[in-house]
């Protein structure tokens, strides 16, 4: 496996390959025996993902696992990742999205790409990306509410799509919009937030190597409560930047409005970079809880992804541009 610039975990902490392979063989063997029973548990799903990978060619796996393999053991369980969500379109409780997203229809799905690009258009989701772009990445997700998860996403780097649609020199920002379907998203019937949910990135942030559009997690299609069928993943920013169920990607010259910033501008900024030194007005951002645990862990600058992203904010006052 090639060492990439964003691979920040020291070599010494990486599981030795023979141990890793050994474990996979064990899991594969165990998988045959208990596949039916195990498949329904989060551990079973994790094992199934590993087994599928073990059965594929080594070179393909290396390409597929471009990021975060060393965080495998820190993965949040499938139940946690799909049972503890902030997705106000389905309700404001953490369990509401899992509970009330059953009516949502993520297929068929099309995404409008518009604005300052040479190749605008409305793409069917399957035509939006090239299958060869698909990869698995394990990222930490830090919520602005001071908790975190570690999630194995499947999807593609947004920069691939950006290259394909050819932004013009006026494209300084990228705006995203969530679908508005109050019939299928009960939370949209109450104006808790200004629907539809909108988010945005600066063009260099959007084109950063880390910026990802997820179509799945744990090797499966995205569950409705996680933002099916397409959601943004920007691991150095707080969770609310990870806009879900995207129907529109618009390239523009001006900074786009963002939903939480409109709702409480003094609490949620456009940038929303994870920053232990800039507190939320009502709580400290210096620490967070790695769920489902109860102990606090120090929050790292840019959620531990500083090497990949801090160059984009050189000279910026991050207390002002929170």
């Amino acid at each position: 496996m090639t060492k990439r610039s964003w691979d920040t975990i020291p070599e010494s902490e990486v599981t030795p390959e023979e141990v890793y392979l050994d474990r996979r063989q064990f899991i594969a063997a165990a998988g045959v025996a208990g596949a039916a029973a195990a498949a329904l548990t989060p551990e079973g799903i994790a094992a199934a993902v590993r087994t599928v990978r073990a059965q594929r060619g080594a070179s393909q796996e290396a390409q597929e696992y471009t990021w975060g393999a060393e965080m495998q053991d820190e993965l949040s369980s499938y139940d946690l990742v799909t049972g503890h969500n902030n997705f106000y379109e389905f309700g404001t409780g953490k369990g509401d999205p899992a509970r009330y997203s059953g009516e949502f229809r993520p297929r068929p799905w099309s995404v409008e790409v518009s604005g300052e690009v040479n190749k605008p258009g409305t793409y069917d989701l399957d035509d939006l990306y090239d299958p060869s772009w698909i990869e698995d990445r394990i990222y930490r997700l830090r919520c602005v509410e001071a908790w975190s998860l570690t999630i194995p996403w499947r999807g593609f780097a947004l920069r691939n799509l950006i290259s394909r649609v050819e932004p013009t020199s006026n494209a300084k920002y990228v705006a995203f919009e969530t679908v508005y379907r109050p019939d299928e998203m009960p939370g949209q019937n109450r104006r808790v937030l200004d629907w539809p949910y909108v988010e945005g990135l600066r063009i260099d942030e959007a084109a950063n190597e880390l910026t990802f559009l997820a179509t799945g997690l744990y090797g499966r299609d995205l569950p409705n409560q996680n933002g099916a069928p397409l959601r943004l993943v920007v691991p150095w920013k707080y969770g609310f930047k990870h806009i879900k169920s995207i129907v529109r990607i618009h390239f523009q010259e001006t900074m786009p409005p963002t939903t939480w910033n409109l709702s409480a501008p003094q609490e949620y900024g456009f940038y929303a970079n994870v920053n232990p030194n800039v507190d939320h007005p009502r709580w400290s951002q210096a620490t967070h809880r790695v769920l489902p645990g109860i102990r606090r862990t120090d929050t790292l600058m840019f959620n531990g992804y500083a090497d990949q992203v801090q160059h984009m904010y050189a000279g910026m006052d991050l207390a002002r541009w929170y």
């Binding site: 946690l80 049972g83 503890h84 106000y88 404001t92 953490k94 369990g95 509410e145 908790w147 109450r190 808790v192 937030l193 939480w260 709702s263 409480a264 507190d279 007005p281 009502r282 709580w283 400290s284 210096a286 809880r289 769920l291 489902p292 109860i294 102990r295 606090r296």
Partner: protein, 214 residues
Amino acid sequence: MSVATAPGTVSATSPAARNLLLLRIAAWTILGAPLAWGVYRWFWGDGFGFDPVEEMLHYSGLTAVWVLIASLAITPVRRWTGFNALQKIRRLTGLWAFAYATMHLSVYVTIDQWFDWVLIVEDLRERPFILSGSAALALMVPLAVTSTKGWIRRLGRRWVSLHRLVYLSAGLALLHFWWGQKADLRNAVIAAAVLAVLLGARVWWAVQKRRRAA
């Protein structure tokens, strides 16, 4: 309770005493139910979910606010319905509100902040959200301490004046509750509306009383 039949008292076996006993049992059951449910959740239920600290904070805080509101509802409900025996469980309700608020603070100090006093002091100094809740609980301390029969006797009229602090405490608790919401204010609005009615009734009565006196 005295068995002697002095004027104004009732015998332990009288229907009035039995009703009072039933009322007390009902009050203890209702007021203790959230605690029992919490213990059940922890040991045999959902364990307070994927983020137990957050959920325990919400659960204990919400319970404290509503029990406090219940304690403030007793006098108005008694006057509106004529169910005078309710007065006998007012102190009990207030003490349960104090108990839930104390549990709420305990969760914050222990498994939320892990006794990190530097962080706690910073929270108090920099965040009106934390300060309002702490002040609400602090104001309840003298009320809980002076809730015994001895203190009621010793303080006389001043006891009534002192215990008016509960209005301020409730107002601060509500502010804390309100500020604790992210975007969905529905629950805070409901609590604020109920509290406004209960405090408004008292203002109304005070105005009426003054008008009659004048």
